[in-house]
Each structure stands twice: as C-alpha cells, then as structure tokens.
Amino acid sequence: MFLRVPPGELVSAFGSDAARDALRVTAETNAVAMILILGFGTPAAYWISTRRGSLRDILVTLVELPLVLPPAVAGVGLLVAFGRAGLLGGTFEVLGIDIAFTKISVILAVTFVASPFYLRTAIAAFEAVDTTLPAAARTLGAGRAGVFFRVMLPLAGSGLGAGAALAFARGLGEFGATIMFAGSLQGVTQTLSLAIYEQFDLDFTVALAISALLICISALVLLTVKVLTRWHSGSSSLIPFAASTRQPS
C-alpha cells in the first residue's frame, strides 16, 4: 500500500476535499464518542465490578452483546430505535433533534460498537484490584467517591488506558452500522472508513492515502495497548494488588 504510489503523492492526496472532510468528521465524532464511552463507561464498569452473582453476569452479557452482533444488525437496530419513524425518533423530533443521517447518528453508532471494548477491559481492571485496598481506604477516612478516585482509578488506570485504546481503534474502523444508520454524506457523516469505500471508485490514490493513515494509527494504538498492559502486569507481579478475593476468616 505504501509502495504502490510515491509517499509524496499519498500525503498530497489529503489535500482533496473528500479526505479532509472525512478526517474532520472522524475526529469530531470519535472524540465525542470517546468522551461518552469514558464518561459513562468508567463509573458503569466500576459499578458492575462491585456486583456479584447473576445480576453481574446479566449485565456483562448485555455489555458484550454489541461485540458479537453483526454490524448490519446494529445499524438496523439503531435505525429502528432512533430513526425518524423509530421507537425514540418521534420523541427526539418533538425536541427538534434529528438523529438519523446526522453527526449524532455517527456518534451513536461508534459509541454502540466501540464501548464494549472499553467496558470489558475496565470491568476486568477494576476486578483485579485487591478488595482489601478499598476496604483499607474506607477505614482511613475515604468515602465512596474518595475510594474511587484515590484508589480504584489509579490502580486500574493502565487497564482503563488499554481498554480506551482498543475502543478508539474499533471506533475509527466503524463501517457497517454507520453506513446503515448515518449514511455516507461527505462532510456530515462520511468518516475515514466510509471515505475509503467511496474513493475506491472515484480516486484510488485517496483511498490508498486514507488506508495508509489508518494503518499507522492502528499500529500506534496496538503499541499503546502493549506498553500499558506490559506495565500493568509487570507491576502486579511485584505487588500483590491483583491478589484474589480473600474470604474473611
């Protein structure tokens, strides 16, 4: 891909409107989606990690569902839920918010398919923290919020970072649900992945250029995950904070 056309031509391909618009749409929608995923996902993952028994299993299954769902099904589902004629579409229409085929629909699609990657890793990261540490923090005067911010978040931090990197990578590559739910309107809903598909017929060099960019980003993300997980497992082998739950004696 990098050899087919000279590198200079790849770079200059980003001068095209289609590539620049796609880059902007992707950056905006993915930034908002990541804020939603981290903002709602982190407390949700923490809450699920403190549950035990069948409620936890049901919640984890629900969280994991978008992972195994075919993207086309996710697109149909989102359309049925948020589309103009959909279940909630009417409600939003009354409020003057149009969802389908706008940036909001891209954000929803990306959030839907990418959040499980973050949630799964985050739940595991919180559950790996030795349960006596939050207990110790409580006896030392920390309330529930203090325990979360001063103990759980720093100790699960590298796991959360790795999960966020994976979710970001998945969000960048999102294609199926977006094209069904948001369409591929240049400058509005056309993300990099959708632009590759369109430029495939129009200007193959642009498609190549965007693909090359996404390869670089994916490699970077993978590297980040490796570094974070290595750091995490390296430190937990020295410090037993990942010790299993001890039963009270």
């Binding site: 030795d130 006596t132 540490l133 207990a135 110790a136 923090a137 409580r138 006896t139 030392l140 005067g141 920390a142 309330g143 203090g146 001063r150 103990v151 720093p154 100790l155 430190s235 020295l238 410090i239 037993p240 904070f241 010790a243 001890r246 039963q247 009270p248 004696s249």
Partner: protein
Amino acid sequence: MALRVQFTHPLRSFDASAELTVERGETLALVGPSGAGKTTVLRIVAGLLRPQWGSVRLDEVVLLDTDRGIDVPPERRRVGYLFQEYALFPHLDVAGNVRFGACDGSRVDELLERFRIGDLARARVHELSGGERQRVALARALARDPALLLLDEPLSALDTHTRAGVRAELRDLLSALKLPTLLVTHDFEDAATLAARVGVISQGRILQLGSPAELVSIPTDPFVASLAGAMVLAGQAIGTENGLTQVVLDSGLTAWSADQASGPVNLAVYPWDVSLGLIRQDDSRMNHLSAPVTSLAPLGNRVRVHVGPIVAEITAASAERLDLRPGAIVTASFKATAARLFPR
C-alpha cells in the same frame, strides 16, 4: 474509651456470634483457626460488614445498632485497622500511604520518625521487607488518630526470626497507645504475649475468655487446651478406682486422671507435664508408657520428643543427658492430676 460489641451473623456453614467488651488501654486477643470467624468480628467493628443483628458502641457513641437502624459508615468510625497482609497502597510511596488517612499533615513526619521509616518515605511498597511493611501499616492506621485499634494477624506475614522482635515492639506500642485494641491471631503465643485477655474462638463462637494463664491452667474445652499447646487424645472412661478415672485411649493405652468423667472422653496433657526416663520409676506419677522414640524436634533450648502417641517437651540438656535418639526405648510419665478429661 471502652468498646462494646455484640452481634450474630450467618457465615457459610455456621452462625458467628460474640459479645465483647474491651476497656481503654486493654488489648483483647481472639485466637482460633482460620475460618473461625475472627476477621468477621473486626470487619463488623470497622463497619466493613453489617451483621444480621448487632450493635457496636464506643463509650456512649453508637456506631452500629441494627435494631434502631444506625450504621455509621467506616470512614466516620475512627478505627485504626491493620489488615492481615497490611493492604498498603501499591501506587503510593511510604509517605503517601501514611498521609492517606492523616487528618493533619504534620503528624506524618512525626509518625515516619517514630516508626523508623523516615528514610523510606519515598520508597515504593514492593521494595519493603515484611517488618517495614508492618511499621508503615501501623503508622498509616495511627495517622488518623483512631479511637480504637483492630489488628488482623499482625505478625503472621513476618518470617520467624523477625517475628519475636516485632512482637515485643508491638507490645510496647500497644501499652503506650492506651487505646482499646482488638487483635485476632491463630497463634496462641502471639495472643498470650500481646493481650491480657484472650478469647478462644471456634466455629464463630467464643469458647472461653480469660487471661492466658487461666486458659492454660483451667481450659474448659479440649479445643482451648489444644490451642494452648496440649495434646488431646480420644478415649473411653471405663470406671473409677480410689477416686481416679481410668481411661482406655483409642491407641490402646490405659491412663489415669484425677478428673471425673464417664463414657467417651478427650484426655488433654501438656507436653511440658510429661517427663521422660530410661527406666520406669516408682513415684507419684500414675501414668507410664514405655515405647521407642519416634522423633525429636529441637525448639530453642527445649526438645519435643514423640514417644508413641505421647509428646513430651523436655530441656535440651536433659535430652542430651538421656542420650535420646530415634529408636531408643524410653518411659514417658505424667501425673494423673496433669491429665484433664473433657466429655466428648
């Protein structure tokens, strides 16, 4: 400041219940095997576990009363809790750990100094030895200026040769702090050194509560006796003669006891009440067993000698004088007054 606790709480295979008072400046130790419900008591006092029914009071302050729906959360209970493996925060250095719960920062330096960990202030938790970790955990617990102290197996994470030193240090610290202290351990010797009163706990119930000397001299239960160091042998009391009870042990031996009992019994004898000799002597001791020595285990200046089902603890000097070695035939003897009987 006096701590008053009473509760019942179902655990996996039994109900745990207790009623305890710990006075200001007093250390009460609960001793028992793992899984007996010791940590449950501490977790209830700290507010980390809400019992099915119970109350916790610190003088007039009610920390928990399930009947009245009062349950003060752990962060407002002013409890210093030393966790079993110390539960130090791995993402913070030593000073950060001690500062975590400090109400006022100026105490931190003072505590680091007092516990001789000032040089380690910037060190990470995983770089510390067991003894250092214990001192950091104690400093951290005291930085909050607690009104009572809970110690969960404070010495079990230490290796044997640092243990004796740390135990003496801890005893001095506890007597200097003058706080009501509740300590749990599986080691009777630790409990006897650190606490004036010891409760023996088994299956969630306190079997006997008293001074260490009382528990050793008049155990009310074979479990208490075995925890205090006695060997416990099962047998049948078959009758009395001259006021003494004759017991046929399951190993086939016959023994005499000054205690009264009938039917199935446990016979408890402390190893240090058993003497060994090369010839059977005719003296006031009623119980004799001649058998080969099966093993010898040195224990400081003493030696534990196994003779058939009997364990004797004699001085190392005596063992040398008798030239004891495995296989040598000796006679183990103990008085009928040293043999306690507990109905089974």
